[in-house]
């Protein structure tokens, strides 16, 4: 057994120094420069504290205090994978692409390991995810080993693809930082189902997605986060959405002890649109955080967002959603709703919706509610003979249901519903 790894930013920097010649792309000057830049950011800023406005409600100190090792060698031995939900499937174990477990043959587009395609990614990798504002993105750039590279040519309907991340318990805390690069050509289409599962060990899963949608491209992105109980899941999506393109994301956050799913989406061409729905569920002492920033930078764009939070036990929920409407983004239609349901005396919800508007011909609104289950509704169901547990379950399901409205894809719907149901079975009745 080796000595416990050094905690905090210093620990990551020390391990980076030891690893940097072995990290993929170590001999590519452009990537080495990006990593060096990231090292400077991590060294200067470290982990954000709650004094940093963007992290006011989510305390990263458990992450900063833990010492993580990087999983140096691929885990051998048989893995039991969940049944595939799509024919095409990319599997990552501890953040590394596993061709042997994936099914990517005969696709009409490129779906492959980032580590193996670094030569083709110059100018693309890192282009959408700035290091300066987001400490976890800088950490990702510093340490990433692999990720999924998706490149769908113009006009291609790519169908469904499953992106599965599995964390295998190596018996000590470990961290992985996949970097996924997704590019959809003009008029192309893809439905992506992203799932994250893991064992009960303490680990940090810190993925960064860079998503670039050309004119008229449509990406539907379902996300089922069911990490293990000791996990820290801190994901970041940077999406750039061109004219008439559409980015729809529907996320369920139902695992991990600390989750932050952050999305920064920019609508850069006329009539682009973005839907960002999420359902976040927490019990015990878990913390769930949905943080989004929507940048309306072109006219006639629309954005819709519904975030539902259900909190049991001593859990904490956070919603931070910002809509920025730039001067040129006339005729913007922006809507944001976040609602939280408290199921226990000790749960806490903190919510910060935010509008920043510089154009006058816009229609923007946001709403927020926080409260307990409606006593009248419960009474109504019970008076009709529904047992208390079941009545509560029905009301919670109904509450969450709105987050999935407009989700037409059956595969995604089934996967996301299963994630919600799984959480309810584990935590619903106990709360």
């Amino acid at each position: 057994m080796t000595a416990a790894p050094q905690p905090g930013a210093a620990g990551f920097l020390a391990r980076y120094q030891g690893l940097k010649d072995h990290l993929p792309g170590a001999r590519l000057p452009w990537l080495a420069a990006l990593r060096a830049d990231a090292a400077a950011h991590v060294a200067a800023r470290g982990f954000p504290t709650r004094r940093v406005e963007a992290w006011k409600y989510t305390d990263l100190s458990p992450v900063a205090q833990a010492g993580f090792a990087e999983p140096l060698t691929a885990v051998a031995g048989a893995l039991t994978l969940p049944k595939p939900r799509c024919a095409a499937r990319a599997v990552f174990v501890d953040g590394r692409f596993r061709a042997d477990l994936s099914a990517l043959d005969g696709l009409a587009y490129c779906a492959a390991s980032v580590a193996k395609h670094l030569n083709a990614l110059e100018g693309m990798l890192g282009a959408l995810a700035p290091l300066s504002e987001h400490p976890m993105t800088a950490l990702n750039m510093l340490m990433f080993e692999d990720g999924l590279f998706l490149d769908v040519p113009a006009g291609v309907d790519a169908g469904h693809l499953e992106l599965l991340s599995i964390a295998v318990d190596p018996g000590r805390p470990f961290a992985f930082h996949p970097r996924h690069v997704i590019r959809l050509g003009a008029g192309s289409k893809l439905t992506l189902l992203e799932s994250a599962i893991g064992g009960s060990a303490q680990y940090l899963h810190n993925p960064v997605f860079e998503i670039d949608l050309a004119e008229g491209a449509v990406l539907t992105h379902g996300r089922a986060q069911q990490e293990g109980e000791g996990a820290f899941h801190l994901s970041m999506i940077h999406a750039r959405i061109a004219a008439e393109a559409r980015y729809d994301t529907m996320a369920v956050s139902a695992g991990a002890r600390l989750t932050r799913m952050e999305i920064h989406a920019a609508l850069i061409g006329p009539k682009a649109s973005c839907h960002m729905n999420s359902a976040q569920l927490a019990a015990g002492r878990a913390v769930v955080d949905t943080t989004t920033a929507l940048d309306h930078a072109a006219p006639d764009c629309a954005s819709r967002q519904t975030c539902k939070t259900v909190l049991a036990g001593q859990s904490r929920g956070v919603f931070q959603g910002k809509i920025l409407v730039r001067r040129e983004a006339q005729k913007t239609d922006g809507y944001q709703m976040n609602q939280a349901l408290l199921l226990s005396e000790d749960a806490e919800m903190d919510s910060k919706p935010q509008l920043e508007i510089y154009a006058d011909d816009v229609k923007c609104s946001h709403g927020a509610t926080i409260g307990a289950l409606d006593a009248d509704s419960l009474f109504y169901l019970r008076s009709r003979g529904v047992p208390a547990d079941q009545a509560r379950s029905m009301l919670v399901q109904a509450f969450l249901h709105e987050a999935f409205e407009g989700l037409e894809d059956d595969t995604l719907r089934e996967a996301l519903t299963a994630a919600v149901d799984g959480w309810w079975v584990r935590h619903g009745t106990a709360s």
Binding site: L343, P353, V362, S365, G367
Partner: protein
């Protein structure tokens, strides 16, 4: 869209000629030396003949202030303030403590007459032209405390109020006549080191009003303070303290204006309210400091800390504000809802035109059980104005059955302005219910079309719609003020809507 073009053109046509309160009174003044130091704090304290405890209190605030940094988080931009280049004390030269209005400098009386503020007791508040058309005796009298730069120059109806045991006087007088009350409550809601500007105020505050309503008394008239900045290169740092004892009721109004100048002047006030069991305090502000000219030159920096504590059960504090003036407004009138079943309210209209900036809102701290709060905020941005609503609703774990409703609406007139909403909502109580909604839009073409089709001119139509937009807030103002506020809204947006 001719309607929109017209509106934008008229926004550009706004000139500073619309600020009617921009004159300067030529009166002999007494200043403290320029700059800020411990000596200046001692100078102010000595000038006010204050007891030792208050000097100590000020010095502690000053020490705290020196260690603090000016906040940079509000969405407002301004060049650094040179605190050494301003006078922290400026008072009109006059006999010490005038016994009656006859002893007050006639030039001062004329100033207030010009502003429409009656210092003669038979008169009433005649805020704007036309408001005085009703016979004076048919309306409620209003007691006025007039603060001119750093000192209170007159307080009316004191004798009448004393009959009910109500204390209404300048705070510097209260320090001498009712030291036990001042010492007990001063800084009890806004502590000296609360924030940068509150600490500055605590160190150098010069005057302001003190109100004490005894148990069970319903104040027979509206109380009001009128703040006037007159001297150049001064800041105004007033401090208001209102205590409503058990079962009492008071409605208090505050108004303010300043001369038109190219320089920016700082106004950093602190207002503390304390409401005991079953007491109600209604605090209304019509803030009309000089907003600067059409190019954004000059105007007041209005950096104010206002906070009320609902200490008693079933107490209520209601803030209503109409913010039309100031180059920059930075204030969050707040309520600490400690007493069970206590109620906090915040009604606000904030207008930013030309280059004005406002970052305003409220904080509601729900501590006691069954506490309720309502927030209604209406922001209007025109010209290059930037308007931010920033608010906090915090429900503590013991605030069972607490309830909050928040509504913030923004209206944009022209495409060079900005409207922002930054609410913070924190709920730690299962049985509490919090609702927040916000909208941002411009005046709808169909609303305009509807009005114009019925024969209203473009300007009248916009005026009508804006008044409707603000109605929920304006109806909370005492009647006299509501009339003034409506006219002010129109004047503030003159050219752009009115």
């Amino acid at each position: 869209m001719p309607a929109v073009t017209e509106t934008i053109e008229t926004v550009q046509a706004v000139t500073d000629s619309t600020y009617k309160w921009g004159f300067e009174t030529d009166i002999e003044m007494e200043f403290a030396p320029k700059g800020l130091s411990e000596d200046i704090v001692r100078f102010i304290s000595a000038k006010k003949e204050e007891p030792a405890w208050l000097l100590e209190w000020r010095l502690r605030a000053f020490a705290a202030w020196q260690k603090m940094e000016e906040p940079r988080w509000p969405s407002v931009k301004y060049p650094p303030i040179d605190y050494q280049d301003a006078y922290f004390y400026a008072a009109p030269k006059q006999k010490v403590g005038p016994k009656s209005l006859d002893e007050v400098d006639p030039e001062l009386l004329r100033t207030y007459e010009k502003l429409g503020i009656p210092l003669r007791e038979q008169a009433i508040l005649a805020g704007v032209e036309g408001a005085g058309e009703t016979p004076a005796d048919s309306r409620m009298p209003i007691a006025v405390d007039a603060v001119f730069d750093s000192v209170s120059v007159a307080t009316t109806f004191k004798d009448r109020l004393e009959k009910d045991g109500i204390i209404f006087c300048p705070i510097s007088e209260a320090v001498k006549t009712h030291p036990e009350l001042v010492q007990k409550y001063l800084g009890s809601v806004v502590p000296q080191g609360d924030n940068f500007f509150a600490a500055l105020n605590s160190a150098v505050f010069t005057d302001g009003s003190f109100v004490y309503i005894p148990k069970g008394v319903r104040c027979p008239m509206e109380l009001s303070t009128y703040f006037r900045i007159n001297a150049k290169s001064t800041g105004q740092f007033e401090r208001t303290l209102i205590i409503a004892d058990a079962g009492s009721h008071v409605s208090y109004l505050e108004g303010c204006t300043a001369p038109m100048r190219d320089e920016n002047q700082l106004h950093a006030a602190v207002v503390e309210l304390v409401a005991m069991d079953d007491a109600t305090i209604k605090y209304s502000t019509v803030q009309n400091w000089y907003p600067g000219d059409a190019e954004g030159k000059g105007g007041i920096y209005n950096f104010v800390t206002k906070r009320g504590a609902c200490r008693g059960a079933r107490s209520k504090i209601s803030w209503t504000q109409v913010e039309t003036g100031s180059a920059i407004t930075w204030k969050y009138p707040s309520c600490i809802l400690q007493g069970e079943d206590s109620v906090g309210e915040f009604y606000s209209v904030a207008i930013t035109n030309n280059y004005q900036q406002a970052d305003t809102g409220t904080k509601m701290f729900h501590i006691g059980p069954r506490t309720k709060s309502t927030i209604v905020s209406k922001g209007i941005s025109a010209g290059h104005g930037q308007n931010t609503y920033r608010g906090l609703v915090r429900i503590g774990a013991k605030a069972t059955g607490a309830r909050n409703f928040t509504q913030c609406d923004s209206l944009l007139i022209g495409d060079l302005c900005g409207a922002h909403t930054v609410p913070y909502i924190e709920n730690r109580c299962l049985s509490a219910k919090v609702e927040h909604e916000a909208t941002t839009s411009r005046i709808a073409e169909d609303q305009l079309f509807y009005c114009r089709q019925r024969g209203l001119s473009q300007e009248d139509a916009v005026g009508l719609i804006v008044n409707g937009f603000c109605r929920e807030v304006l109806k909370e103002l005492p009647m006299e003020f509501a009339v003034e506020a409506q006219k002010l809204l129109q004047i503030s947006l003159e050219g752009s809507v009115g």
